[in-house]
Subunit: 149 residues, 10 copies
C-alpha cells in the first residue's frame, strides 16, 4: 500500500545510490523529453508501459511500481503554498509579477481563452553568457478559445 510520494522517495534513493543523473536516467527511458521523464519519476506525469519498464530496470523498481508510473498521478508537487524553496518560489514570483500582464497580452493577441497547460511542452537550456550563464526556458501551449454556446 505504498503511496506515490513513497515511490518518489524510493526513486530518489535509487538514483542516489546508483550515482545517476536525471539526464542519464532519461536517456535510458526513451527518446522523449528529459523534462517529461523527470516529472513522471517525481510523480507528476505518466510514462508509457515501455518507458516504465526501462525506468524500472534502471532503478531497480518492482513490476507493480512500474505500473504505478504509467498511471495518472494526483498531481501537485508543492508541499506548501506559496512554495518555500527559493528556486521554485522564483517561478511563483513570476506568476505574481506577470500574471495580469500575461492575461492582458495573450487575450489581446488571441481573444478570450487560455494557454493550455495540458497540450503543452517545454525545453530548458543553459544559455552561456559572459556576465554569468542564464537558464533559458521555452514554453509552448495551445491557445484554447472559450467555446460560445
Amino acid at each position: 500500500m505504498a503511496t506515490r510520494e513513497e515511490l518518489t522517495l524510493k526513486i530518489q534513493d535509487e538514483k542516489r545510490s546508483r550515482n545517476l543523473s536525471w539526464k542519464q536516467i532519461a536517456e535510458g527511458i526513451g527518446p522523449g523529453s528529459p523534462i517529461l521523464y523527470t516529472a513522471a519519476l517525481l510523480g507528476q506525469m505518466t510514462l508509457t508501459k515501455t518507458e516504465a519498464e526501462n525506468a524500472a530496470r534502471l532503478l531497480g523498481l518492482t513490476a507493480i511500481e512500474a505500473t504505478i508510473l504509467t498511471e495518472p498521478p494526483l498531481r501537485g508537487s508543492l508541499p506548501a503554498l506559496p512554495p518555500t524553496d527559493p528556486l521554485i518560489y522564483r517561478f511563483h514570483e513570476l506568476v505574481q509579477t506577470y500574471g495580469t500582464t500575461w492575461k492582458a497580452l495573450i487575450e489581446e493577441e488571441f481573444g478570450d481563452g487560455i494557454m493550455s497547460a495540458i497540450d503543452f511542452d517545454m525545453q530548458i537550456e543553459r544559455e552561456p553568457n559572459p556576465k554569468g550563464d542564464r537558464v533559458k526556458i521555452n514554453m509552448s501551449g495551445k491557445f484554447l478559445s472559450y467555446k460560445r454556446y
Copy 2:
C-alpha cells in the same frame, strides 16, 4: 492620495476610451519590450522618466501619476492565491506540476542556486500551428549560485 491600484484602474479606463491596444501603447512609450511596459502600466514594473512622460501624454495622466509610474511598486498582481482566473491559473498549475522538476534539472545542470526573477527577461509570441495556434513564451533568467562563506 491615490493608490497604485487606482492608477491601474484609471489606465485601463483611459486605454478603453481611447480604443488603444497594449501594443500600440507600448510603441508610443519607447523601444523596450511591450511586456515590460504593460507590466509597468499594470503596477508591477517601473518606467524611466521619459517613458513615463510618453505614457502620460498617450493616456492623459497627470505629472504626479507619471512620477508614480517611475517608482518601484509594491509588487504582487494577484487578488487571490491560487489565482482564480483560468488564464493566470494555468501558469500557477505549471508551477504546481513542474516545480520539483525545474528544481531537479536546473540544479543538476548549474549546481545549488536559483534562476533569477530579477535579472530576467521574456518574450511572448504566437506560434502558428495547423492544429490550433500556440502561445510561445521564452524566459531567460541569470543563474545565481548560493554564495559559500
Copy 3:
C-alpha cells in the same frame, strides 16, 4: 474608474428596477445560451459587440459599460472559499465528494488528461418529478490529452 464588480452590481439593480428576468434579458441579447449570457452579465464571460449593445439598450448601460462586457474579465465569482451560500456550496460539495471518482473514471475511459472547462458548454433544465421536480444539468467538455514531448 468603475470595476467589473461595480458593473455587476449596477446590472443587478437595473434588472430589478425593470422587473426583468435573466431569461428575458438573455432573449433580448441574442440567440445564444442564457447561461452564457447570464454569466457574462455577472462578470464571468464575454459578450460579442452586438450582444453587448443589446444588453446595454435593455439595461440602460453606457457605451463604455457595453465595451467592458466584451472584455475578458478577471474570472472568479466566489467571495469566499469554500462558498458560504448553500446553493453554490452544494456544487462545491459534489467536487469534494466526487472529485477523485471523476478522475478515476474519466482517466480510465480517456487516458491521462482533463475535461476542458474552456471548450465547454452546459444546459440547465427543470425535470418534472412527482416526488419533487429536479434540477438537471448537462455538461460537455472536450477531453484534452496531456501532450507527450
Copy 4:
C-alpha cells in the same frame, strides 16, 4: 485500527495487481451505477451488504473491510483546497466561474432553495466528436425549497 484512507490505498493496490478496471469491478459488485460504486471504493459513498461482499470477494478484502465499505464515511476526497490535480481542478473552476450564474438561474426557475447533493444522481459518458471526443456529464438533483415557518 486501519483508517478509511488506508482501505482506499489497499483497494487501489488490489485493483492494480488484479489488473481490473473500475468498470469491471463495478460490474462485479452489482447492477448499480459504476460512479456510485467507484465513489464507495474511494471512500465517499456506501455499499449495501451484498455489494460489499461482492467487492470483498473481487478484491481480496477481509470481512471487517467489507463492513467498513457499508458504513457512511467521513466524506471529503480532496487532499488540498482548491484541488491541485488539473482534472479535478477544472470542476472547481466551473464552480468558480458559474457559481453565481447557477444561483441566479436556478432560483429564477425554482424559487429560493437548492439543488440537493444528496438526492442526486449522475452519469458520465463519452461523446464522440470529430474535433475531439467530449466528456459528457449529466447531473440531476432534487430541488429543495427553503421551508417557511
Copy 5:
C-alpha cells in the same frame, strides 16, 4: 447600487432610531417565525412580497429595498471563520465538539444521509431555571437519504 450588506446596516439603523425590538418588527411583518423574519432582515432569508412591504412600511425602506428583501441573498453571515464573536463562537464550538457524535448517532438511527438545513425550522425560548435561566433551542430538519442509483 447598494449591496445587501448596506441594506442590513440600514435596517439596523432604522430599528435603532425607531426604538423597535426584533420581536416587534416580526409581529409587524406577519404571522411567521420571528427567527425567519430576523434572519431575512439580516440578509440570510427571504420575505414574501407582502411581508417585505410590511417590513418596508415599518422601517422606512424604499420599494426597491423591499424587493431586495424578497430575493434570495448570497448567504453567509459570518465576517470571519471561525467566528470571533463569543455568542456565535459557542455554536461553532458545539459543531467542533459534537460534529462527529451527531454524525454517528444520526446515521445509526436513519442510515446514510443528512439532516436538511433547507427543509428546516427552529424555535428559541427562555427556559426559566433557579440556577440561572437557560437558552433553549429546538431544531427540526428533514432527514434526506443518499439516493442510490
Copy 6:
C-alpha cells in the same frame, strides 16, 4: 504512547467487530445520555471512572485506555474547517446562516452575554412525519451575562 485519536480508531474497530450500536454501548456504560457517552468515546467528552470501566469491559479496552477516557481530551473533532462531511457541514451551514440571528434574538431576550456550551445539554430524536421523518435536536445552555466590573 498512544494518542487519543488512536484510541478513538480502536474503539470504532472494537465496536465494529462486536457488531454493537452506539446505543447499545451507551446502555452498557450507564444511565447518562447516549450523546454524552458517544462523544466521550469519540474523544470529545469524559466518562466517570465507573463508566469508563464499563466501556472498557464492553469494548475490550485496557485499564490505561479506560483511564484515558476519564481525562479531559484536547477537544476538536473536525479534521478540516469548514467540515467537508455533508452531515456535519449542514450544522456549520446553520451557524453561517443563523449566527447573527441567534446573536440578535438571544441578546434581545437576555441582554449581553452568551449561551454556555459547557453548562449545556442536548437530545436527538426521530420525529415521524408523513413527508419524511425529521431529525429533532433540542439544545439547552445556561445563559451567562458578561460580568460588569
Copy 7:
C-alpha cells in the same frame, strides 16, 4: 449607517483632539473598571445607558452613537490572526506557549471544564521594579464544569 468600526475611529479622534487619556475618560464615565470602559469604547464591551450618556457628553457623540455603545458589539478586535502588533502578539504568544499547561493545571485543580471569559474580570497595574517596571495583570474567571446529562 455608520459601522461600529467607524464609531471606534471617531472616538479615538475625539479623544485625541480633546487631549484626554483613557483613564480620564473612564473616570468621567462612571465608577466601573477603566478596562471595561476602554474596551467598550473600542467596540468590544457594552456601557449602561447612563455610562453611555456620560461618554457621549465627554466625547461629543450623538444620541444614536450613545445608543450604539449600549448594544452588544460583534466582538473581535484583531484585524489579523495571529495579531501583527508586537504588544498584542506577546499575549498571543503566551497562549501558544502556555495553552496546554493552563489546560493541564486548571483541569487538575478543578476537573473537566473551563475558565469563563464572560463571568470574568481583570486588573492591570504598574509594578515598580528596580530592574525595570513590570506590567502586572490579574485575571479572574469563574470555573464552569462541563454539565453531565
Copy 8:
C-alpha cells in the same frame, strides 16, 4: 530519533501509569513554579540539568530524554489556530476581545513598548467564591520600551 512531541506523549503516559499529578511531579523536580515545570514537561520550557534528572528519575526517562528536557524546544503548543479546545480557546478569546484595550492602556501608562513574554512569570490559584470558585491568574512581565536610535 524521537521528536519532542513523542517525548511529551511518553511523559503523559508515564504520569498516567504512575498515577501522579502535575503538582506531585513538580514537587519532585524542584522548588520552582509548577507552571514552569509543567510547561517544560509539555515541551514549551526548559529544565536545569538537576531538575531534568529529577524528572527523569520520577518518570522513568532515559538520560538522553533528560538532556532533551534541558534544551530550548521549538515552542508552540497549539495544534490548530485558533485553538479548538474550549479551555484554551477562552484565553484566545480574551486576546480577541481585550487585545486593543491592553494595547491602549499599557501604552498610556508605560509609553511605546511591550510587556515581555520572556522576562515573565505567572501564578494560577483557586479563588473560593460562594457563587462558584474562580480561576485566578496573575501575570507579570517586564515592560520593554522601543529603543530609540
Copy 9:
C-alpha cells in the same frame, strides 16, 4: 476619522510632490536614525513631539496628524503573508532558510531566550564591491533570557 494607513498614503504623496528623499526628510526631522524616522512615517514607529512637528512642517501635515505620528501605531506593514513584493520577500526567505539556524546558534551562545525586536537597532549601508555593490545590514538586539520562576 483618518486611519493611520491614510496618513501613510498622504505622507508618500507629500514627499512625492515636494520631490524629497527619505534621507532629506530624516535630516529635517532630527539627529536620529533615518531608518527609525522612515519607519515612523510609514506607520510602524513613533516620533517624539519635536520630531513630529518637524515632520509636519516639512511635509505639510496638520497638528492632529503630527499627534498621530507620536502615538504607537497598530504595527504590521505587510498587506499579505508571505509578502508578495520581491524585495521584502527576500527577507522573509531569510527567515524561512535561517530561522532554525539562528535559533540553534543564538541559544548555544546565550542560553534559552530571544533577541529582542524592541530593544533593537539597525543600520543599512551600501558596501561597494567590484562584482556589484552590496546591501549591508547590521542588526543589534538585546538578548533576553527566559525568566525562571
Copy 10:
C-alpha cells in the same frame, strides 16, 4: 527512503549523544562559516563533498547520508507560518515592522531591485553590553537591479 527531515533529526540526536556544540562540529567540518555549516546540517544549505565526509565522520553518518548533505535541499525550515517559536518569531516581526522601510530605503539608495538572499552572507556575534549583552547580526547581500529589456 529517509527524508531530509529524518536526517536532520538524526544529526540532532548524534550531536546530543556526542555532547558536541554546533561550533565544535563546524570546526570539524572545515574553515567555512559555522552559520553555513549549521544551516546545512539543519537541512537548508549544502556542504561540499569533503565537508560532508568530515561531518559524517564526526557524527557517525552513513555514506549515503553524507551524499544527501551535498544535495540542494527543498528549503524552508519553519513548520508553521508565522513561526510559533518566540526566538524565530522576533525575526518575522522585524520583517513585519521594517519590511516597507527596507523597501523604501534600499530602493532610494540603489534603484529598483532587491537584496539577494542567494549571493548573501552573514555573521552572528555576541556584543558585550553592561545593560545586558546583545546579539549582533551582520548581513550582506548583493544588490540586483531589475533587468530592463
